[in-house]
Symmetry: C2
Subunit: 461 residues, 2 copies
């Protein structure tokens, strides 16, 4: 099966005539086995994650939790004896939820409470809440067809579910998340007084999933919240039964002044090219009511672990290896941008950047962004990963935080774990430590270490 | 490159000259997509599993729960409008745990309670419990080297952990489970009065994992229990600190007379060869204190779902398709043996048998037991499964319950899901419904349906 897959990988990327010698394969497979053995028998990532989720807890940009997370991960890398650990200043948006939201559906004499959560970036409702008739739509086309006449004064309810038939749940998310990101302003343009968005999950449950939204310039500013999927099903049913159904919601969120924060960076110095960098990373911030165990505590501890593993199995890198905890992926990406800006201004050549921001699940592949030749070179390493169940190295996204490095030609690699459970927990209060499997988390960190090793040893050109 | 691919594929599986036409590929991939879409958007398996784990609950052979499970799955298949649903009589062992076990470690003035669970098949301790000094060993060689002199009158503590570096956790289990299955009698042969076995899991926690043990003929019968991994770590530490450390345990288990029970079978009649069979199955029994969500409620509902999916997408099978709920896999395999015996006595030709008994996790492959030609034919279907992340179709185990069919030359196929979390829950009280992901479960059922379809359409010769 390994041989078969290698051929498929080369087919997918086109034959380039590049070879990967059998002698290298033998040495590399032994070394990579060491990495995995160390991760699985003596790993640190799980205990780091326990602390980050349970001692530090929620860590939305600008919050006290985020500041604690900066200190915690800095200390962790100092204690793991990285060569150099430092903070990088970054100003971040500072949005706060305030008191817990309230919401209920009113239909005739019925009044039923439903779980909601203000969307990240949303304003509060007017004092005393917002109550209005509900217009349910599945997409913007349907919304616009209704026009101002039918939307004005109403609360627009966006209720298009994530498509459960997509094997890759990120694809299903991508097909639904416009409702959350742009729905509120699209509704406001037609005179809506509020927006309620079905939570972005394929599960049916009572947990609202938040996430960022953006106000379009020029559109009226209206409050917006996510409703749990069970709440959405109920609301839809009640609206169908009685078109005069109303929803009330009250939320207290606000955007404060930008706050100072940090990316956290730990490194192993390169022995040959110390001013050339290979980075692994995750984002340190989470939503405010979430432990952020999968999103993205897992990516952070896996990144620290990838560098630690290479150090502790005795690897001496040619290039400088960095673990980067990016701040503010959730509602601004200021950390990722600041990191790339700093790299540019300091002329730091970044060979490759690897990110884990798809949860701490069993790794199945890497998505690679680069030239055809770079992709082919990386794909030729596939057979080294097949022993670990990692069969899908191919085109695909890197990760939001490393995206800004693309401008300097850095190869971007995104760890691709099994995606089936990710949106059960994404941006929600149930994204807790107990949802992470120690072994699955460890396999991801080891896979990142192995990829970092190969990039360091062979380069990407 | 395509030529290279084909030759490598044939090399890997043995060249047989068999081909799988491109036109078939297109039709089959469309049909298999239908199966997966139906499973993911309109599946039944998750709600069946909810009932089987939460309404029926634990279902050890001979128990009331097992009898309820027989009724439940029979009704489920009748309600799903299978062509024919029937029970197959089977006599099963009837072991009962009795009251909850007690155990504590005594070292000097310290007395610390530890969680244990009687091993399946073990006798009770004498009334009032067993208390003795502890001898820790890692394997039988070490035990035998100690000899009667050092073992007599002691409680032998088997404490070799599952190897965490094995990627396939079943391999790690296979490398440790001799301690549970044969350890008690090995200890008894040297005069031990009891055996305590480290739970078969790579996790460190407070949950004992039971499982069956067998008394060797001629060896004295001594009581045996599993201790939680945290308990094992503590016991080991205390024994090292004080060789006079004792453990007390009391358990109330007993083996009653064999009890009548059933396999449950539902079928879709074949249109061309109704007397030829393709079966999918799981085992209906679980341990007594476990909901048996992954082991093996998942396999049962996936088997029912595989047949239902084919029926509900409108497939008319050539051969008769059966979903079989085998009774008594955990402590006897009487159901699997009875099924094969019945097939033989009725001259029912079984083309292939597919089992799911490795948990309801994301499917990654199938293990195939058959001739080289049969394996090559099945491997040629691999590319149909790749779109669903199923890349590992190769040699490997089928499943315990279908094993007895091998005698009639039936091809055995075992669904291979991701194994990382399986032993977190195996044979333990935390093997509960909430540990199963709806999507992961559904993918497994769809994969089994797809495999059943291909076997039905193309045969295995």
């Amino acid at each position: 099966m390994r041989k078969t897959f290698l051929s498929i990988a080369l087919l997918a990327f086109g034959s380039t005539g590049m070879t990967y010698a059998q002698t290298d394969y033998q040495a590399d497979s032994i070394f990579i086995r060491q990495i995995f053995n160390s991760a699985l028998s003596d790993g640190r990532s799980y205990e780091w994650l326990r602390d980050l989720t349970q001692k530090v807890g929620p860590r939305l940009s600008g919050s006290e939790g985020a500041a604690k997370a900066v200190e915690y991960t800095k200390d962790a890398m100092v204690n793991a004896k990285f060569d150099n650990v430092f903070l990088q200043n970054v100003m971040v948006p500072h949005w706060v939820r305030g008191a817990k939201e309230k919401a209920y559906i009113v239909s005739g004499k019925q009044k039923i409470n439903v779980p909601i959560a203000a969307l990240g970036g949303s304003v509060a409702t007017p004092k005393g809440g917002t109550k209005a008739k509900v217009i349910e739509v599945k997409n913007f086309q349907e919304l616009r067809a209704l026009g101002t006449e039918k939307v004005k004064g109403k609360i627009v309810f966006f209720n298009r579910p994530m498509d459960p038939t997509k094997l890759n749940t990120f694809e299903a998310y991508g097909g639904a998340v416009d409702q959350r990101g742009s729905g509120p302003s699209e509704a406001a343009k037609l005179g809506a007084v509020g927006a309620i968005v079905r939570s972005m999950t394929t599960r049916l449950d009572d947990i609202p999933h938040t996430g960022s939204m953006r106000y379009a310039s020029g559109a009226p500013i209206i409050p917006a919240a996510a409703i749990s999927t069970n709440g959405a099903e109920l609301l839809s049913k009640m609206v169908k039964e009685n078109p005069d159904t109303e929803i009330f919601f009250e939320q207290f969120s606000e955007t404060l002044s930008d706050a100072p924060s940090h990316n956290v960076i730990g490194e192993l110095k390169g022995s040959q090219n110390p001013a050339q960098y290979i980075v692994v990373g995750g984002h340190l911030d989470s939503w405010d009511f979430a432990q952020g165990a999968h999103d993205d505590g897992s990516g952070c501890v896996q990144a620290m672990e990838a560098v630690r593993l290479l150090k502790d199995v005795g690897y001496k890198p040619k290039n400088t290896l960095r673990a980067v905890m990016y701040m503010n992926e959730e509602n601004g990406l200021k950390g990722g941008v600041a990191y790339a800006d700093s790299a540019k201004s300091k002329n730091e050549k970044h060979i490759a950047a690897i990110e884990s921001d798809r949860g701490g699940f069993t790794p199945l592949g890497f998505g690679v962004v680069g030239t055809a030749a770079q992709k082919a070179k990386i794909a030729a390493w596939s057979k080294l990963f097949a022993a670990y169940g990692i069969h899908e190295i191919g085109p695909g996204g890197g990760g939001a935080d490393i995206g800004p490095l693309a401008q300097q030609g850095t190869v971007l690699l995104g760890l691709i774990p099994d995606s089936q459970r990710y949106f059960d927990y994404h941006h929600a209060s149930n994204d807790t430590f107990d949802k992470v499997s120690k072994r699955e988390l460890e396999l991801g960190g080891a896979a990142m270490a192995a990829m970092m090793y190969l990039v360091d040893k062979y380069g990407v050109e």
